[in-house]
C-alpha cells in the first residue's frame, strides 16, 4: 500500500485565523476585481469589452516587430499584438467600440496580406463584438456565477445543515474570487472562457468540501463526546490524503491541457489549475472554519 500521506496530525484549526485573514484578502481583492470588471476597467477580453480580434497564422516565420510596423503603417491604431505559443501565430486585438463592425478586421487582413503575400497569411479567426453585446455578456456572466453559487447553497443546505451550506457557499465564492483576483493582478485577460472556468471551479471545488463535510458529519454521530475543534481536526486529517489525490488526478488532466491544449485552452486550463489548488485549500481552511464560526459551542450533537 503506497501512502503519500499517513497518520497526519496537523492542527488545521489552529491555523484558521491566519488562513481566514489570507482568504479575506482574496475575497476583498476579488470583489474589487468584480467591480472593475463591471466598470469595464479590467483587462477585459473583447467578448466583454467589445472590439475586434484577428488571429493570423503565417506559413513562414515572421518577426513580431515587422507585423507591428506593418499595422502601424496602415494607420491601425491602439492595437495589442500578441505572439501565441503556437508557432507563427499572432493575435491582434483592438478594444475599440466601433459602431460599424466589419471594417477593421478587413483592414488588418488586407494590410498583412499586402505585406506578406496572400498565400502566406491564413486567417484563423476573426471576432467582432459590438458594445451592446459586450455589456450584455458581462451582465450575464455575473448572473451565471451568482446562480451557480445560489444553486450550490440550496443543495448543500438541503443535504447538510444550514451552517454547512453557508460554509460551502463562502468557500465556493472564495475560490471563484481568488482565481479572478489572480487573473486580475497578473493582468491576464478576463473573458467568457475564464467565466466558464470559474463556473467549473465552483462546481469542482465543492467536491473536496463535501468530502470534508461528510467526514465531519459522520464523526459527529459517532464521536460526539469529543471536543469540537479536535473532532474537526481529526476529520480533516482522516480525509487529507483523498482530498489531495482527487485534486491531483484532475490537476494532471488540467496540466496536460495547459501544455498541449492549444492557445484558446491555455488560459482556461491555467484557471482550472489554480482553482483546483485553491479549492483544496479552501475546503480545509475556509469551508470548515466557517462552520465553526457559526456555532463552535453548539457542539455537533444534532442527530
Amino acid at each position: 500500500m503506497i501512502e503519500v500521506i499517513k497518520n497526519t496530525k496537523i492542527d488545521f484549526m489552529g491555523k484558521r485565523k491566519v488562513a481566514l485573514a489570507v482568504s479575506s484578502v482574496f475575497i476583498v481583492l476579488g470583489l474589487i476585481a468584480i467591480i472593475q470588471v463591471a466598470r469595464g476597467a479590467a483587462n477585459l477580453g473583447i467578448d466583454f469589452a467589445g472590439g475586434t480580434s484577428v488571429q493570423i497564422k503565417f506559413n513562414t516565420p515572421v518577426k513580431l516587430q515587422d507585423v507591428r510596423q506593418t499595422l502601424t503603417d496602415s494607420a491601425i491604431e491602439d492595437f495589442d499584438l500578441q505572439d501565441l505559443p503556437t508557432e507563427n501565430k499572432v493575435l491582434i486585438r483592438i478594444k475599440k467600440k466601433e459602431q460599424t463592425l466589419g471594417e477593421l478586421s478587413k483592414k488588418i487582413i488586407a494590410s498583412l496580406s499586402d505585406k506578406y503575400g496572400e498565400d502566406n497569411v491564413v486567417v484563423d479567426s476573426t471576432t467582432e463584438i459590438g458594445p451592446k453585446v459586450g455589456s450584455r455578456l458581462r451582465k450575464d456572466a455575473l448572473w451565471a456565477i451568482m446562480a451557480a453559487i445560489i444553486g450550490i447553497l440550496i443543495y448543500v443546505t438541503f443535504r447538510f445543515q444550514f451552517r454547512f451550506g453557508v460554509g460551502a457557499t463562502v468557500a465556493t465564492f472564495h475560490d471563484v474570487l481568488a482565481v479572478l483576483t489572480i487573473f486580475f493582478l497578473m493582468g491576464k485577460e478576463i473573458n467568457l472562457i475564464l467565466v466558464s472556468a470559474l463556473l467549473m471551479i465552483a462546481g469542482y471545488s465543492l467536491t473536496d468540501t463535501v468530502v470534508v463535510y461528510d467526514r465531519i458529519r459522520e464523526n459527529m454521530r459517532t464521536k460526539y463526546k469529543k471536543n469540537t475543534i479536535d473532532l474537526v481536526n481529526q476529520s480533516l486529517n482522516e480525509v487529507l490524503s483523498r482530498t489531495i489525490i482527487t485534486s491531483l488526478t484532475t490537476f494532471f488532466a488540467a496540466f496536460t491541457l495547459y501544455l498541449f491544449g492549444g492557445e484558446v485552452i491555455h488560459e482556461f486550463a491555467f484557471a482550472i489549475m489554480l482553482g483546483i489548488i485553491i479549492g483544496t485549500y479552501s475546503s480545509m481552511f475556509v469551508a470548515t472554519p466557517i462552520v465553526l464560526l457559526m456555532g463552535e459551542e453548539k457542539a455537533f450533537s444534532k442527530k
Binding site: I193, S196, T256
Partner: protein, 537 residues
C-alpha cells in the same frame, strides 16, 4: 454466477456495445455504415469546423420610416388614380396631405386605416403612425427579416444553418462549415432594397453637379449642394470600378426622391451575360401588377433617365427610349459572375425590411479547427495516460479496475454525445479531458474508504462493501454540485460554452454509472470467485 451479477454485467456490456455502435458514425468509418446509423454522430461546433456566427440587430425605427415613405408614395398614387389634386409630403413618421378637395382626406381615411389623423387645419391634414401600429411594423420587420435571411441562406447552400431570434430585435445566424465567410456575410447582411427613381435633369442645379468624383470627395459634394438641391430631390452616387486599374470612382446623380417602384413587385431575378459588353448582369422580371406599373412609369417618363438603385447605390440610369411593356429590366454594372449570382439570390429572396446592424461576428477559418482538434486529442491522450499510470502505481490492482472504469467512462461519454448528436466545441474537448481527471475521483474516494476499513481489520470483502456504502453519498453529493454548475453553464453560455456544459454534464452523469456500478461489479466478481486474503489496493 449469481443472478444479480448477470444483470450488472449485462448492463455494462450493453453500455459498452451501444457506446461503440453509436460512436462509430463519428469516426472515418461513417460512410461504410448502414444508413440508419449514419445519422448519429458528434457534430463539430463552429469553432472546430470553421464557419460564421453572426448577430444582427434589426433597425426597427428605420423599418417604420421606410413604411411611412411607402405609405406616402402609395397615398400619392391612389389620389392621382382617383383624379384628386393633392400634395403629399412625408416628414419622418408623419404624412402631410394638402388639398382643396375634401375627398382627398376621405380617401386617405378609408383606404389607409393604419394612419391616424394627427392634426387638421384648413385644407392640410397631418397623418401619423401610432404607437400600436409602430410596434406592429417593428415586429413584422423582424419576422420578415428572419424569413428573408432563411431564404437567402437556403439558396446559398449551407449544410446545417441555425437562424433564430434573440432578445427583442436581434437575429442570430450560425453557418457552420462555410468556407467563403466574407461572401456569406455579405449575402446575409445586404438590405437589398431595389428602387427605381427618375433623374431630375431639368433642375437648374443639375448642370452644376460634377459628373464623376473620387470616393473621398463624396462628403464635400453633399455639403456643397445641400442647400441647392430642389425640394423633393436627393443626390445619390453610383460606384464605378475601372476593370483594368481597379480604381474606384463615383458618378453623381440628382434624382426625384420618391421611388416610382420598388423590388416588391419582383417575380424573378437571374444572371445573364450582357451581349454588348459580354459582362454578367442580372435580369429581373416583375409580376403582373409590377409589369403594369412599370409600363405606366416608362410611358410617363419617355426620354427621361430612370435610375436603378440598390441600397442607395445607383447601378445604372438608362434613358427610357420608349414605354417598356412585359415587365423586364436589367441591372448592369461591373459585376463578377459570383457577384451577379449573389445579387440574383438576394433579389429573389426579397429585401430586408430595414438595414441590419451587425452586433457580433465570429468567423473561424477551417484550419484553426483542425489545429484545435489535434491539440485537444494530444492533450486528452496524454492526460489519460498520466492518470492511468498514477492510479496503477498508487492503487495496484484496484487502480487497474479504476482504469477500466475510466476507459468505460470515456467510451460511454463519446457514445452518448454521438447518440444525441451533441455539438463538440473546443471548450467541450476540455470538458472531456477534465472529465477524465474527475472520473477516477469517485474511485479514489472509495479506495481510500476501503483502505480505512481494511486498517480496522475487516476482511477484503467486508471492506469493499462498507467502503462503497460509506463513500456513496459523498460521491453523489459532489456529482450533483458539479451538475448544478453544468446546468447553469448551459443556460448562460453561447455556442462553445454550451458545448463545454454538455460534455461536463454528461461526463458527471456517466461517471456515477461507471464508478458505482462498473468498478463495484468487478470487485464483487473477484471477491466472490476467489477467496481473497489480501486486497491489492
Amino acid at each position: 454466477m449469481k443472478k444479480e451479477f448477470f444483470w450488472r454485467i449485462s448492463l455494462i456490456a450493453l453500455a459498452t456495445v451501444l457506446s461503440i455502435v453509436f460512436f462509430l458514425p463519428s469516426t472515418q468509418l461513417s460512410s461504410s455504415l448502414p444508413e440508419w446509423l449514419q445519422k448519429y454522430g458528434i457534430v463539430l461546433g463552429l469553432d472546430l469546423q470553421g464557419g460564421v456566427h453572426l448577430v444582427y440587430e434589426v433597425d426597427g425605427d428605420k423599418a417604420v420610416e421606410i413604411t411611412a415613405e411607402r405609405l406616402a408614395s402609395s397615398i400619392g398614387n391612389t389620389l392621382k388614380e382617383e383624379g384628386i389634386e393633392a400634395d403629399v409630403k412625408q416628414d419622418g413618421l408623419k404624412i402631410v396631405v394638402s388639398s382643396t378637395n375634401e375627398k382627398a382626406f376621405d380617401t386617405v381615411a378609408s383606404d389607409f386605416r393604419i394612419l391616424t389623423e394627427d392634426s387638421r387645419t384648413d385644407g392640410v391634414v397631418t397623418y401619423a403612425l401610432e404607437g400600436a401600429e409602430i410596434d406592429r411594423i417593428k415586429a413584422l420587420a423582424i419576422d420578415q427579416a428572419l424569413e428573408t435571411i432563411r431564404n437567402r441562406v437556403d439558396q446559398f447552400g449551407v449544410a446545417e444553418p441555425t437562424i433564430h431570434r434573440q432578445a427583442e430585435n436581434e437575429i442570430v445566424i450560425q453557418l457552420p462549415g462555410v468556407k467563403d465567410t466574407k461572401r456569406a456575410i455579405e449575402l446575409v447582411g445586404k438590405t437589398a432594397i431595389l428602387e427605381f427613381k427618375i433623374l431630375d435633369d431639368e433642375a437648374p442645379v443639375a448642370a452644376q453637379i460634377p459628373g464623376v468624383i473620387n470616393p473621398e470627395e463624396k462628403e464635400g459634394v453633399m455639403q456643397e449642394f445641400a442647400d441647392k438641391i430642389p425640394e423633393g430631390d436627393e443626390v445619390l452616387f453610383g460606384k464605378i470600378i475601372n476593370k483594368e486599374t481597379g480604381v474606384e470612382t463615383d458618378r453623381v446623380y440628382l434624382l426625384k426622391k420618391q421611388a416610382l417602384m420598388t423590388g416588391d413587385f419582383l417575380s424573378e431575378a437571374r444572371v445573364d451575360i450582357d451581349q454588348r459588353y459580354n459582362e454578367p448582369s442580372v435580369s429581373i422580371s416583375f409580376n403582373s401588377t409590377g409589369a403594369k406599373l412599370f409600363e405606366q412609369i416608362t410611358t410617363n417618363n419617355v426620354k427621361k433617365r430612370l435610375a436603378i438603385i440598390l441600397d442607395e447605390n445607383v447601378y445604372s440610369a438608362p434613358v427610357i427610349q420608349e414605354p417598356i411593356a412585359g415587365g423586364n429590366a436589367q441591372i448592369t454594372g461591373t459585376f463578377t459572375m459570383q457577384e451577379a449570382r449573389d445579387l440574383a439570390i438576394v433579389l429573389r429572396s426579397g429585401s430586408l425590411p430595414a438595414p441590419l446592424k451587425m452586433l457580433q461576428n465570429v468567423t473561424v477559418g477551417p484550419s484553426l479547427g483542425k489545429d484545435s482538434i489535434k491539440a485537444g486529442l494530444n492533450a486528452g491522450i496524454l492526460g489519460a495516460i498520466l492518470v492511468i499510470i498514477f492510479m496503477l502505481v498508487y492503487y495496484k490492482i484496484a487502480g487497474l479496475i479504476a482504469n477500466f472504469a475510466l476507459v468505460l467512462n470515456i467510451l460511454c461519454l463519446l457514445g452518448v454525445l454521438s447518440a444525441f448528436n451533441a455539438t463538440l466545441t473546443l471548450p467541450g474537448i476540455a470538458g472531456v479531458i477534465l472529465a477524465i481527471g474527475m472520473a477516477v475521483d469517485s474511485n479514489v474516494l472509495m479506495f481510500e474508504r476501503i483502505r480505512e476499513e481494511l486498517r480496522l481489520g475487516k476482511t477484503p470483502r467486508a471492506s469493499i462493501d462498507s467502503g462503497y456504502d460509506k463513500a456513496f453519498w459523498t460521491i453523489f453529493d459532489s456529482h450533483v454540485t458539479t451538475l448544478i454548475t453544468a446546468v447553469v453553464l448551459f443556460q448562460f453560455g453561447t455556442g462553445p460554452i454550451k458545448g463545454f456544459a454538455v460534455t461536463l454534464g454528461w461526463g458527471v452523469f456517466i461517471n456515477l454509472f461507471t464508478a458505482l456500478i462498473g468498478t463495484k461489479t468487478i470487485f464483487d466478481l473477484i471477491t466472490t470467485r476467489t477467496d481473497m486474503k489480501r486486497l491489492s489496493i
